[in-house]
Symmetry: D2
Subunit: 369 residues, 4 copies
């Protein structure tokens, strides 16, 4: 097994910072892992990029992402740029034989997503898409419980992903409201998490019927609050789905849900029990199992701890809690393991394409479905 991998990070925004933090911690948290070297960081803004490199300990800096992709020293290309730039970077990196670690969503159009997945199929490198919520040990536990039959065959998935970052009607119009720049609204930004999560736990989605709703049809222009501009994508999306094997689901997501900050929540009803989760309390999972004693049945709230790997690599006591940034460290660990072992990472471009296909079917319903 190779003992060292060099990574180049393209993009130094919000999510790029999360990457860089994780690169610094991953070998300390997981000492048995091959070494990850934060080698090169790319940003078109030289001043910001150099400061970022210094802050997070990257050895090198460039303003041109082609430098990263063509650099023979680099093993892994991490893409944390605006979404519409993912495709070209990812495809060129794959063609150059790199492993590609791309932020979600895969791309802005279904055509781009398909092209990326196609490139991955023909490449030697591994791919991983940054749906890092899936790395939560609580969700790994949920999946384990399903697979081991604790709730029987899963029959129904009801999930929500709500935030309130656009809840105020006075929040100005921005690129987020433009179809050309952002693609779908809530559907692309928040519901993607829900779709990836539901497929992780329930299997592939084979049937889709969706409705989008733009509650605030116009928003003020930032520079002139008296002027208003049309919002081109959805504030709220409701999707009824069918999973392979016949189970059904409801996915609902809103960016205008006052008070909700990161409510990625679901319940799964199975033949023998129910599982509950809410990411605003990401260290907890609840389960109801078919009762033995009629007078003692109820939902059991499990606090995540060392019994739920890889929590114990971070803290040795239950209830001390992981945070959001820790999930990214787990994701980077998964990436390195997959690359080192030559085994597919999850979710790969192929897996993430399935998320985009669901989105596409909401936006472009087929006759007769």
């Amino acid at each position: 097994m190779k003992q060292k991998f060099r990574i180049a990070l393209i993009g130094t925004g919000y999510i790029g910072k999360t990457h860089a933090l994780a690169y610094r911690s991953v070998n300390a948290v997981f000492p048995d892992l091959p070494e990850l070297v934060a080698d090169l960081v790319v940003d078109i803004d030289e001043t910001a990029g150099r400061a970022f490199a210094a802050q997070f300990g990257f050895a090198r800096f460039s303003t041109d992402w082609h430098d990263a992709v063509s650099d023979p020293e680099i093993d892994i290309i991490a893409i944390a740029t605006p979404n519409h730039l993912h495709k070209d970077m990812a495809i060129e990196a794959l063609r150059a034989g790199k492993h590609v670690y791309c932020e979600k969503p895969l791309a802005v159009t279904i055509e781009d997503s398909e092209a990326m997945a196609e490139a991955a199929r023909n490449a030697s490198g591994q791919t991983l898409v940054g749906y890092n919520y899936l790395c939560n040990p609580a969700l790994q536990l949920a999946r384990k419980m399903i697979e081991s039959g604790r709730i029987g065959r899963p029959l129904f998935f009801r999930g929500v992903n709500d935030e309130d970052y656009m809840a105020d009607p006075k929040t100005p119009h921005s690129w987020r409201c433009e179809r050309a720049k952002a693609g779908a609204g809530t559907l692309g930004d928040l519901a993607t998490h829900l779709i990836s999560l539901s497929q992780f736990l329930m299997g592939d989605i084979v049937g889709v019927a969706g409705r989008t709703y733009t509650a605030h049809a116009k928003r003020p222009v930032a520079s002139d609050q008296a002027a208003y501009r049309t919002v081109e994508n959805d504030d709220v999306v409701s999707v009824l789905v069918e999973f392979e094997g016949g189970a059904r689901g409801e996915l609902s997501s809103s960016r205008i849900a006052w008070g909700r900050k990161n409510r990625l929540a679901f319940e799964i009803h199975g033949e023998k029990g129910t599982i509950l989760f809410d990411q605003e309390r990401l260290n907890e999972l609840e389960i109801f199992e078919t009762p033995e004693d009629a007078d003692a049945q109820g939902f059991r709230k499990i606090l995540i701890g060392p019994a739920h790997p890889p929590y114990g690599a971070f803290v040795q006591s239950t209830g001390h809690q992981l945070g959001f940034n820790d999930l990214k460290v787990i994701e980077v660990k998964n990436l390195i393991e997959g690359i080192a072992n030559g085994s597919p990472c999850y979710p790969s471009f192929e897996d993430a394409l399935k998320v985009e296909q669901v989105i596409d079917r909401v936006l472009n319903p087929q006759p007769g479905t």
Copy 2:
């Protein structure tokens, strides 16, 4: 104002008992109310009926409901029989000049429901349908908060009504699984509450798109667990709705949700805030209001108390809690007040017809909707 009303109760099952308990308490809890006299009870089973009359203090008993309807002493006919019997009793009672207090749902078919509403339009008596959950002071508070603008214009309603009484696949086939006897499944039994509740808070539903799902397609025959019989109606129903004025909603309901006992829960996202409720904690309501202080915003959990009428008629201290049976007492109070004042009760047959119309549109979707 008339000072005394005589009621006849038809049906002595589960819900009939709830009625009878409420009749006994209503004047003690609400001393300013005209007197309600539990005069006559009707049941086809003479032994059971007589025992019931004795238990709950009815003066008279009959095995024939026509006795009640034709009795000039009786002011109010309460109908707590199997659902398919509602229509004839209600219409005949209305024609006889009685006030009619009918259990939910209004009827088993849309035609019956329409006939009942038509009869009510042409009658002098008041009508009230027993959606007693609406009597919860917490829900009255929710409505008051919406009306007073605390959360701004309501934009989105997301509701569930889950129980688990059919969650076990081994639960035998019964009349509940037969379309002829029960009509819809979860849709008619549980979602009705959700529909009535959403219309109470959000206004009339004008757009409907639904999906039903029978997770357990066959169930064992009670007398022979080796034999299986087809389930003819829905275990789970998902309905996407539009309210008058343009707000949207999702209604989801299941009778196979292990661990859920009476989860009639909703969230309403408004322009300025959010309201949350879950009937498994029926004395609580949560509200999020647009924050003044960024560092102190959050959901506020309100415990119902004397500030939320008519709680104080039952208990004089907050947090001591009302129970399910108390809600029925409030409903009976509302009935008497409406009758005494000659003002329409809520929900009337006309209001309840709107619930049935939503159900009908789920079961019989119109082309182009």
Copy 3:
């Protein structure tokens, strides 16, 4: 078994109303019970008393409690008067051969309490003291779980009883603040519930060390907010106890805990598990049992239902919830059963004396304890 008992109620205030409501419902809820006749009500205020009799259906009224005690028709004397009046009424009633149903606390002084218990020992009648919270099926379940060994030997009890009715420093001085009229403050009003509850679940308290704290030493005089008067009893009380058998406990109670309305909450740590309860959610009990699976352990929240008698006598479905007034109906049922069967009611005067003894030991610590 005698088939009918006549009760006389002395006192028509807040708690008297709760009694009267329960008398009306008890035979309807529990049809197999001997009949309870609300025969006579006593109040010194004739107008209020007569109105009360009419409202709640008492056959007779008197302004003199001696009429009740000496009436040969009356079987049971219910005492719902101010606390300092309990003693004379109870003792005279017991001497007259009546059963006595007295509101909590037993009396204002330990001497009075002892005299009442002594009278009960020498009387033929049953006694019951109105610690009605103990009638909650959730607490009966807690006791059953302890007795059946689900949490092993109970080792530690930590309980609180908080309200906020005196939290506002501007709340005027009243009889509640005077030692002569109210006796202890929070200790007598709220902590009594906690003491009775802890003894119900853990056994008798044999060791006591307490501290009282008057946070608001003076309060404004109602008629003149510029004038202040000294508060003579405790706002907060902390009691460290030892139970027979060696388990320990902490009892803490406050009347100045803003936001707490009826928080009678406890946790019991046992050798094998833990039980949690909070009366602001009186239909729930939580239990943690020694885990079998390290990755699936957690607190299980039990919703009270028909599996927890006598819930099913009120409602036939789990999760529909009992309210405060229902607990009083159960208490009255217990009273009638005890009297009819000639078996001691719980808590009797003897049991309630043990509560007063704990209070006395807090107020009057013994040297060397």
Copy 4:
């Protein structure tokens, strides 16, 4: 301001690992901070120590802590050794002019603690004791709310700190049960957090009355489960305290509370409101403020986010949550800031001594208190 500080870490156990992780992240999370260099690590086990140095990126390793203390290159000595070793290391480091960052508790005996505080008084270096829970932005918010008067003058503090690591009576005897090695039991291990927390929020403790309780008097010997050995310290501790200024408090802590993993919870009752916290949900704080509207009052649950510094340095969105390890990063940031600015860190040896003094007064009560 100096731009670089070199730290030497003594001890590579559980808490040492937490330190090392924080050293790696602190400059990336807080880019404006002077640089912290993880220079030297000390452990008596050479193999383990060298592996640790490699894992966490320390430049140098030694088996002798005197090497660290006497090294002129080193600015800060971090002590993460067994508690009884703290004193000598800290005092020698202070005398050598180092800053000292010592894990909690300060020492095993009050004499050692006093000697350490005395050494700190006479030294030029800063001191900081690792009560890292205090770094939680939720607790900083609690303090800010108190200081700004949102709940008025704080009157009462009720806190618990429960875990279950000794709840199983079969858990073998260990050094934790020996007074010579561990000092107090729960009091020294868990209640210390509670004491430090209460003093952070309420001010110094000036009155103390405590009770300790050893529920499991003997435990099996690890090597021979048939043999039992006496437990020499407390499983449970109850402390009644008085704060400077007159407010009161109750501190309760247990290591045998089944199901509790990290329940460091408190409520503070003030003249105008109440604050609640539970570390098992460390990203939440609840507040009740004196109501304006009687029908809308309740506890407001605040989710920690960028409005609560320094959360935003980790994540830019509310509700994404910090974890335990992030708190240690904040603590290290505080250390560097204090040292760089020459301002006292909190809690210093002087502050931590006050924790030890409370413990001492529980273990050695003075006559007349």
